[in-house]
Symmetry: C2
Subunit: 494 residues, 2 copies
């Protein structure tokens, strides 16, 4: 018998028996897998879903349950808060957020279909209060629906796409809306008749003449051979928890130390590559140090070890954090006055590096050369009083003078502060969820969605909250519908 | 019959006939392929070498013929110029140059074996005059042997590894030593009895039970089936000339527009991946805008569009150029006084953006806010007079005050200036040249060297001249020796 491997599909000829048969097999029970399963089942396919853990969740359940939604004039929540959101602006923002890695076809499709997707989510029972919460939040502090969750209102995005808040969060008091979101999707999947196998780790795909026709799962310490007549959907997440893959494909993550994930070890990416799938933009990752908590810290100014500013700090916290890693050295400093300083969250491991009555004193205490940090702040304050930031075009009200001491410099240190990260690179798929090979053709029988693919959140410098769950839920549905529409001939069923 | 594809090995069972048989097939006749062929043939193997062009060359022949060599106390050229070069310092520099992508085993091995490799090159007939040419050169202006070709004497490298010049250039008047270097290696290969097939494009590998046993080449417009009993060595270069691969794997190169290469379209990487090989660090690339020519421009200061310095300008020109691309915006400025300004080379497409009697005038002409560029230069000059650069630790003599006007600002624009580039990511190989799969096991019968692999030059920010040819020639030899040592059983020959 052939070897079972993540890296190479198992030949159908060596399958000793079929332990289970289904039309569609879905691997992974986070938001992407759940949405793929719901859609495939709703289209009439039998669906078997495999989850290596004892229940649903994945990285989706660790998130805030926030989904990036807009376009078509705006959602109910956007419109009632006075924000129009044209599809063109939404699409343009998505492409800028994808930077050099943007998949234009995915951005265009999602911009057009996003509102319909929002309605679908509601139809699944995801509750939305419908209101807008102003301010700068990582997640809503209450059960509000809509928050600014990206760099929409910041340069250079604001110059190319009319800004609107687009982070739509499940109605849920406080942080952690991801868990109830997945619970709802799980209930819908089960209601629809999706059969779920938990504690079932997929260890290989099965192929026959270049077609993926099933998989092997370890269940109760035995190998189970699963026939999936119409195809397999991979929805296993990224590879933030796989140190070996990080070293080979995303080594810049070695600067930081806090992967976010739930066993996100790249299984689906490896399975897909082993079946001939292409993996793209594997170096990209999201990272953030939660420096905007407390919210007043959003009014601070960042300088690198040279005492230079490096970004308009009104960008999304993840874009700012990713840009920190581009700076020379191993740390950056967040500069605040006492009007804005609050003790940082313990979890952030952000330390006070210096204090002073003047910026000159702070500069000296940081042992920076005279005329660096203090000159930066003098320049910044002079222009902030005029309401402008000629270097990076930061906007009011975040743009505010910090010239009434005493002052404090907080140290965000790549080695010791909390820089969470997850990976963005993965399998290349078309807009319908088909896994593509390196020649651009689809791998027959293989589909994928979520963070085991490269999708809407493709570029670390452009990440915005809700992009990943938008991608997981929408393109999970796409994959589910596509695989459910596969026509099986009698010969193939034989 | 199965389809012939770069992306999937052709099954041996479908081979209609063997048009040629050999012990070892080498693909690509640049420096890596030539060295692999010489070593395999010298070890007694029959070698057939396939080159898609009409003659040898590849990107190697477009280079300066410079090879990064050192360690073991120093080469003749290093020692006669007064440079000792301990193996430990050499290895440490190589690892820093590889940054987060460094392959430590390759760095350690090459640091130990580099001097013996230099002797081997001489034994092949590569001439070295043996002298050191001081100064900052991209390639020697005369026929000198040794130049500074990296960031050895610059921070932070100098703080961790004792600096020594290590760029060893074939004796050749002026630029362009790559062509005569390849000519010599070609002559040695032919003398040794390597059979060379030119105008022979390899379109597929052939596999039998997971072993690579040959290849298919297009020769005279027909498919030729080649049996390689001991294995195939891929030495086809990078993928700078493949826009589709660049978009998928190294999209940051879309900022710049001048790939260097000789049909470097990633063929070998695709063939290797198709056979199960892992490709790593695919986002990495070398780039340079030849701003140190004329040499006096090396004394200039770089600022970004914010008027901030961003690096110690005494680093290798490629490290500085790569860091330019990290800056916000689409251009940077090289600031010079008249003592150092010379009309830039036409090829560089570097324009004069502003002039002025004072830095304030230059700042105004560039429409930068008051107190940006001028403040940067005042700070720089004040410390340069004291012989120090507290921001980036640039060293004398490159560290020199620029405070006697008139001044000039040259614009290096990513869109319009000449930023050449080539890719650094590729197949993962062990130190013996075996192609490794994603599980870390070797792909039986498949070997690779040069820029179709990730090797010594692994990280764009750490590139140093001569690293790529060092990697091509040394690890090309390694691959050639390894494949020549493969023992073929009578059964396999049947």
């Amino acid at each position: 018998m052939a070897e079972m491997s993540l890296h190479k599909p198992f030949p159908a000829a060596d399958v000793p028996r079929w332990d289970h048969e289904t039309d569609v097999a879905v691997v992974g029970f986070g938001a992407a897998g759940a949405c793929a399963a719901i859609e495939a089942r709703s289209a009439g396919a039998e669906v078997l879903l495999f989850e290596r853990n004892s229940g649903s969740g994945g990285a989706s359940a660790l998130s805030g349950g926030e989904i990036y939604i807009g376009g078509s004039g705006g959602t109910d929540a956007q419109r009632s808060a006075g924000f129009e959101d044209a599809t063109e602006d939404f699409a343009r923002y998505l492409k800028m957020a994808g930077g050099p890695c943007a998949d234009e076809a995915k951005c265009d499709l999602y911009a057009r279909e996003s509102l319909a997707h929002y309605e679908w989510l509601k139809a699944q029972g995801v509750p939305y209060r419908g209101n807008f919460l102003p301010g700068k939040h990582i997640e809503p502090v209450d059960d509000s629906t809509l928050i600014w969750s990206g760099s929409e209102a910041a340069a250079p995005f604001r110059d190319h796409a009319k800004p609107a808040p687009r982070g739509h969060v499940i109605q849920h008091m406080g942080w952690g809306g991801g868990r109830p979101l997945v619970d709802i999707l799980e209930a819908r999947a089960r209601d629809a008749g999706v059969r779920v196998m938990t504690d079932a780790r997929v260890v290989a795909l099965i192929e026959d003449g270049g077609h993926i026709i099933g998989l092997i799962a370890r269940i109760d310490n035995a190998s189970r051979f699963i026939r999936a007549h119409q195809g397999v959907v991979l929805a296993t997440g990224g590879f933030a928890m796989n140190p070996d893959m990080l070293r080979r494909y995303a080594p810049l993550t070695s600067k930081i130390h806090d992967p976010i994930g739930e066993k996100d070890d790249g299984t689906g990416i490896l399975l897909g590559m082993g079946a001939g799938g292409d993996a793209i933009h594997m170096d990209q990752f999201f990272t953030t140090c939660p420096w905007t908590m407390p919210e007043s810290h959003a009014y601070g100014v960042f300088v690198n070890e040279q005492g230079q500013r490096f970004i308009n700090e009104d960008c999304y916290h993840g874009r700012v954090s990713r840009t920190m890693l581009d700076q020379p050295g191993s740390k950056v400093f967040l500069l605040l006055d006492m009007a804005h300083f609050v003790q940082p969250l313990e979890i952030a491991r952000i330390a006070i590096a210096a204090t002073g009555e003047t910026w000159e004193e702070v500069e000296a205490e940081l042992e920076m050369p005279t005329g660096t940090l203090a000159a930066t702040m003098a320049f910044y304050n002079r222009h902030a009083h005029e309401g402008r930031d000629p270097l990076f075009d930061k906007q009011a009200p975040i743009l505010t003078p910090l010239d009434q001491g005493p002052f404090v410099a907080l140290e965000l240190n790549f080695d010791s502060s909390y820089f969470s990260f997850f990976t963005l690179g993965g399998l290349r798929t078309d807009v319908d969820g088909r896994v593509l090979d390196r020649a651009g053709a689809s791998v027959p029988g293989l589909y994928a969605a979520g963070r085991c693919t490269s999708g809407l959140p493709a570029w670390g410098h452009g990440y915005s909250s809700g992009l990943s769950l938008a991608d997981c839920t929408f393109f999970g549905r796409q994959a589910g519908r596509t695989v459910a529409a596969v026509t099986i001939t009698a010969a193939e069923l034989a």
